[in-house]
């Protein structure tokens, strides 16, 4: 193994925890990642040493809190190679970022007859906010997948029209593990003068993502899936587009001057951040980015690939193991079903072995329907996972077969 997962595990206090007297095999990082001591300590240190409401006053603590918050923003900007930290808006999560775009971009700019092009593999976060636009006659279109779980790019090329104002696509599918060629999709979108949005919730934690290279107009992701705390996420947007957008939430902090009946908006990025911000979240995310950068995103990606290959070898030997797509599953996400057993029961029995996996519809019901499945079990890997944990998963799946007499 190129990456020493055993060593990294020591940084994560939760791995000291035993469940059912067994060491935790956490194979659900695509839902949310565990947190290293460095992130926990950064948050603790912020509250013990620096806490104040940023941007509000001029005393020492306030100055420190403001600097800490804005330094975190700079860190995020560097991490995804944004042109400027003005382009980084702190949000709660990917869902919130998509809602900002639906309300502040789409509702302001799209009209009857316009189209939004999505894909069938999108998470609900990148479907449901856009459905709101249907009320005013905007049409949603969905690009299908090929039989191997990749996106049908030919179809995308055919479906995009002069009415397509927005193309919004996930960089990496949380069910299939498919990594989409977002650079190419972005080129197609921009040739068509469409706005190009990338859902980076699964890609940003697991592989190098560079917004300049992708040339996306917007990128959304969540801190909690990349070793950071919950309730902090990022909406990246090109500054020239953000400048022209109306704010989503209105109130304090996002203003320059308030009269009784009108208000001058604050500059970017604060225009989009109403109220007291989540400094603790930003601090935690900043520490998470430090940690990820030290390990190296390419190394993490390689590690997940190695684990995926190992897992497929191991799991394919188990009776009744049916991966959703065989052969393409090298991206740290293994979705499968066990013949004769519902994914919920699979997950429940695995818990006896302290193996944590996701089960259910994965917040991707349209994709599930397309696959003809009601539910799926998913194991996902991250930098702290080991081959031993996959062995335990295999042991647990044998038990599933035993209980359900498969």
């Amino acid at each position: 193994m190129s990456l020493n997962a055993e060593k990294f595990r020591e940084d994560f206090p939760i791995f000291k925890r035993k469940i059912n007297n067994r060491p935790l095999a956490f194979l659900d990082s695509a839902s949310t990642s565990q947190k290293p001591q460095q992130v926990i300590d950064a948050i603790k240190d912020y509250y013990e040493q620096h806490n104040a409401n940023p941007h509000r006053s001029i005393y020492t603590l306030c100055d420190e809190a403001t600097q800490i918050y804005e330094k975190a923003r700079e860190k995020v900007a560097k991490f995804i190679n944004a042109k400027s930290d003005k382009e980084i808006i702190f949000v709660r999560n990917t869902n919130e970022a998509m809602n900002i775009l639906a309300y502040s971009y789409a509702m302001e700019n799209l009209k009857e007859g316009d189209e939004i092009l999505l894909t069938i593999m999108e998470h609900h976060a990148n479907i449901v906010p856009w459905q709101m636009l249907q009320k005013r006659g905007v049409k949603l279109k969905f690009v299908d997948i090929n039989d191997d779980g990749t996106l049908n790019l030919n179809q995308l090329n055919e479906m995009i029209t002069k009415n397509t104002k927005i193309v919004s696509v996930t960089h990496k599918s949380n069910v299939l593990g498919t990594v989409n060629n977002v650079k190419e999709i972005g080129r197609i979108a921009h040739d068509n003068e469409s706005i190009f949005i990338v859902d980076g919730a699964q890609a940003v934690p697991n592989m190098p993502v560079d917004v300049k290279d992708l040339d996306c107009d917007f990128l959304a992701f969540s801190g909690h899936k990349m070793l950071g705390p919950m309730n902090i996420g990022v909406l990246y947007g090109k500054s020239d587009i953000l400048e022209k957008m109306e704010p989503f939430m209105r109130g304090s902090d996002m203003i320059k001057e308030v009269q009784l009946t009108e208000t001058v908006w604050n500059d970017l990025p604060w225009k989009f951040e109403a109220g007291t911000p989540n400094v603790e979240g930003a601090v935690g995310l900043s520490a998470a980015i430090d940690y990820l950068s030290k390990v190296g995103l390419s190394e993490i990606q390689k590690h997940e690939e190695e684990l995926s290959v190992y897992a497929m070898e191991k799991l394919n030997e188990i009776k009744g193991f049916k991966p959703v797509f065989n052969g393409t599953l090298k991206n740290g996400v293994i979705s499968f079903n066990m013949v004769g057993t519902h994914s919920h029961d699979v997950a429940y029995i695995l818990d006896e072995f302290a193996v944590a996996i996701r089960s259910g519809h994965m917040c991707c019901q349209p994709l599930m329907r397309r696959l003809g499945m009601q539910s799926i079990a998913r194991a996902s890997f991250y930098l702290y996972n080991t081959k031993e944990e996959i062995d335990t998963l295999a042991e647990g799946l044998e038990k599933v077969n035993q209980v359900f007499k498969v």
């Binding site: 059912n20 919920h344 029961d345 429940y348 029995i349 006896e352 019901q365 359900f404």
Partner: protein
């Protein structure tokens, strides 16, 4: 948490449900989901003289949600509406007799909640 909840009766009702099916002239139909996992149950019931004359379900989901509803319908068939209304969660869990975590409880009670809705729909209509 352990796999002891998968008792023989649970697995038997899951593999071979006795009350699965449709009632084409049903008096009441109710459908409910478990939004976190997507499990679904639809119950159709026929009443006469204040009695549950016939009751069937269709559903998709885990062994606990599907076997529970099958067992439940066996219990309430031919009971009076009053008896069904007085049948509590506690009564049902005692009959199931398995130890369930809070998350798993939702699976086990999906059928009972759907049944209560079906009865309620019927009562508000007649």
């Amino acid at each position: 948490m352990n796999s002891e909840i998968y008792r023989e009766t649970i697995l038997e009702h899951y593999a071979n449900p006795v009350n699965a099916g449709d009632i084409p002239d049903a008096d009441a139909t109710a459908r409910d989901f478990n939004p976190s996992c997507g499990d679904v149950v639809e119950i159709q019931a026929k009443f006469s003289d204040g009695i549950v004359k016939d009751i069937k379900f269709r559903g998709e989901g885990c062994a606990i949600s599907q076997s529970s509803v099958d067992i439940l319908l066996g219990i309430v068939k031919n009971k009076t509406i009053a008896e069904v209304e007085n049948f509590t969660t506690e009564d049902f869990l005692e009959i199931l007799g398995i130890e369930l975590s809070p998350l798993r409880l939702k699976c086990a009670l999906l059928g009972l909640n759907t049944l209560k809705t079906a009865v309620h729909t019927y009562l508000t209509r007649v």
